[in-house]
Amino acid sequence: MLSRGLPTLLSVGLIAGAVAQEGPNLGVPADPEEVAAWDIDIGPDGAGLPPGAGTVAEGEAVYAIQCLTCHGPEGNGQLNDVLVGGHGSLTEPAPVKTIGSFWPYATTIFDYIRRSMPYLTPRTLSDDEIYALTAYLLFLNGIIAEDDVMDAQSLPAVVMPNRDNFILAYPSN
């Protein structure tokens, strides 16, 4: 413990230079299983989506138990964020930015619900439940049909209505 907080002498002075930096090399190799347990990210191309599937009807049932108290009937946002609607409002004085009117990628819905929701008990839903909730929210927003099933193939294929309306400020063109 004596060395705690003391930088390795070799690396001092290299920080500002363009030279490759050297640290004390104290990183501990992570085994792939552990990494897999930590890595819950879903990319916009669907990378990271787990096996499983969910329907709109299943999603409606989960929503009623897990989400409705905060996000209101059919995602109307009676207490917290509104999840449905706002289509065509983005040029209005008071735009309503929702999953349906604003979000560019359907995969973000799965990623966000899985990591952050339900607000009081995150990380408690099954992958099937998250697929089902994603399907339900996409259906309420008029983006998929009532009998569409969401899974690792169908979800990244969903084209969001506002997808092409983002201008990348980085890297600047």
């Binding site: 060395s3 705690r4 907080g5 003391l6 930088p7 390795t8 690396s11 001092v12 290299l14 920080i15 490759a20 930096q21 050297e22 640290g23 004390p24 090399n25 104290l26 990183g27 501990v28 190799p29 992570a30 792939p32 990494v35 930590w38 890595d39 819950i40 990210d41 879903i42 990319g43 916009p44 905060c70 207490l79 917290n80 983005l90 040029t91 004085p93 735009p95 930015k97 999953i99 604003f102 979000w103 560019p104 990628y105 995969t107 973000t108 990623d111 966000y112 990591r115 952050s116 607000y119 995150p122 990380r123 309306n165 983002f166 201008i167 990348l168 400020a169 980085y170 890297p171």
Partner: protein, 423 residues
């Protein structure tokens, strides 16, 4: 006018602005003649009571004077939660460039986690040669750097700037999502080099250990340039609400990207399009399209004193004091106007003037007691000039929500009251 005023006060712009020399020489002492508030301490017992008995004992950890306990962050949370939302720094009550750690603004998406540092690890994985874990003991053995730099939430100031009518509130309530600290930590590039970044990588995803597991994508170039894994704030370990035990710190970039409670960095080829970089932190333009990845915070300034809630005690000499900062570099100049923008004069910048740090500016003003409108305008070393509210709104409308940096005006009434105005 007080007899104690120095006799060489050169008027440099309309309505009583005085040369900044006053602050660069000893002349500022004379400003005591008219500082904010009344200097009418009641004639008290002599010697005062605190000179008649020994004072309090030493303590293991100090706290501020009890007379200062009213200086508080203003907290606001979304309905049904007490940890999703933010708190604002009461910048009208502070001076200098450093924000006391306990008053640093907050913005959380699921409260402040109570993280045991001995159980906390940082994982670096993805497009790297070897995935690595770093615990806090390991991180504290890496070479560190210290920098005084600001963090600003990109939603700062929009409450008043984008509202049709000026919103009433203190300077901190309107503009307090800005704070500046000395941050000390390990350059992220050292850790990424140790993991061995694959040439196909262009971004990282940073994840926090809060209950929202909040994530942001950051360009790899930024992380290799000046990103820190910060462990200390103003000399002590990070405060819990500022990311204890470790946070990402991205100088000059919108605050949300400096992910707190940092526990995972995934090296990726492309941005992950998380909720925070799509649903939030994208800037909606009048034509319905939105700017995405608007990272740096632009040049900005605000007069913190006088400001709403701080009244002027009557005609006389006053110090105008404020903060200026830019996510693009150093502040080059701050100008102040006391006649609603008709004329401007250069303010004194308090040293040190640092890269991407808050710079304190000061200006001497002889208020003649008539209604006045005071404002400040900053220029950074890239030549970027803080724009007017009108020019921002004509270019970007009023729905963009983030990165508002317009000039703020305060109206001083004849009775010394200060209110928010749009000019």
């Amino acid at each position: 006018m007080s007899e104690r005023e120095p006799n060489n006060l050169e008027v440099v712009a309309g309505n009583g602005l005085l040369h900044r020399r006053l602050f660069l020489t000893g002349g500022a002492a004379a400003l005591g003649a008219g500082t904010l508030g009344q200097l009418t301490a009641a004639r008290a017992q002599e010697p005062p009571p605190w000179m008649r008995i020994p004072g309090a004992p030493m303590t293991g950890h100090g706290s501020r004077a009890r007379y200062e306990n009213h200086v508080q962050r203003l907290t606001m949370s979304v309905p049904g939660t007490d940890g999703s939302g933010g708190s604002r720094t009461p910048i009208e009550a502070l001076e200098g460039m450093i924000t006391p750690s306990g008053l640093h603004f907050e913005r959380h998406h699921s409260g402040v986690p109570d993280i045991d540092p001995d159980a906390h690890r940082l994982l670096i994985h993805g497009l790297v040669d070897r995935a690595l874990f770093f615990d806090m003991d390991a991180l504290s053995r890496y070479p560190m750097v210290s920098r005084i730099q600001f963090i600003e939430c990109s939603g700062n100031s929009r409450l008043t700037g984008l509202a049709p009518e000026p919103v009433s509130g203190t300077c901190g309530e309107l503009h307090g999502l800005i704070s500046c600290s000395e941050w000390t930590g390990v350059p992220l590039s050292i850790l990424l080099d140790e993991a061995g970044v694959d040439p196909s990588a262009h971004w990282i995803l940073a994840e926090g250990a809060d209950a929202a597991a909040m994530t942001r994508s950051v360009p790899l170039a930024k992380t290799m340039d000046d990103a820190l894994v910060a462990i200390y704030q103003n000399g002590e370990r990070l405060r819990p609400e500022n990311g204890y035990p470790a946070r990402l710190f991205l100088p000059g970039y919108e605050g949300n990207m400096s992910v707190k409670w940092l526990r995972r960095i995934k090296v990726t080829a492309a941005p992950m399009m998380t909720r925070e970089e799509t649903s939030k932190y994208t800037d909606l333009l009048p034509d319905g399209r939105s700017l995405m990845f608007t990272f740096p915070m632009d040049v900005k300034s605000v007069i913190t004193s006088p400001s709403p809630g701080l009244e002027l005690a009557g005609p006389g000499l006053y110090q105008i004091s404020g903060m200026a900062w830019s996510g693009l570099g150093r502040i080059a100049m701050v100008e102040v106007s006391a006649d609603g923008g008709a004329s401007w004069a250069e303010a004194a910048l308090s040293e040190p003037v640092l890269d991407k740090a808050v710079t304190r500016f000061r200006m001497a003003w002889r208020w003649n007691g008539a209604p006045a409108v005071i404002m400040s305008r900053a220029v950074d070393e890239t030549g970027a000039v803080q724009p007017t509210r009108q020019s921002i709104i004509s270019a970007k409308g009023t729905n963009f929500m983030y990165h508002y940096n317009g000039i703020q005006a305060w109206r001083v009434d004849a009775d010394g009251r200060v209110t928010n105005v749009h000019v």
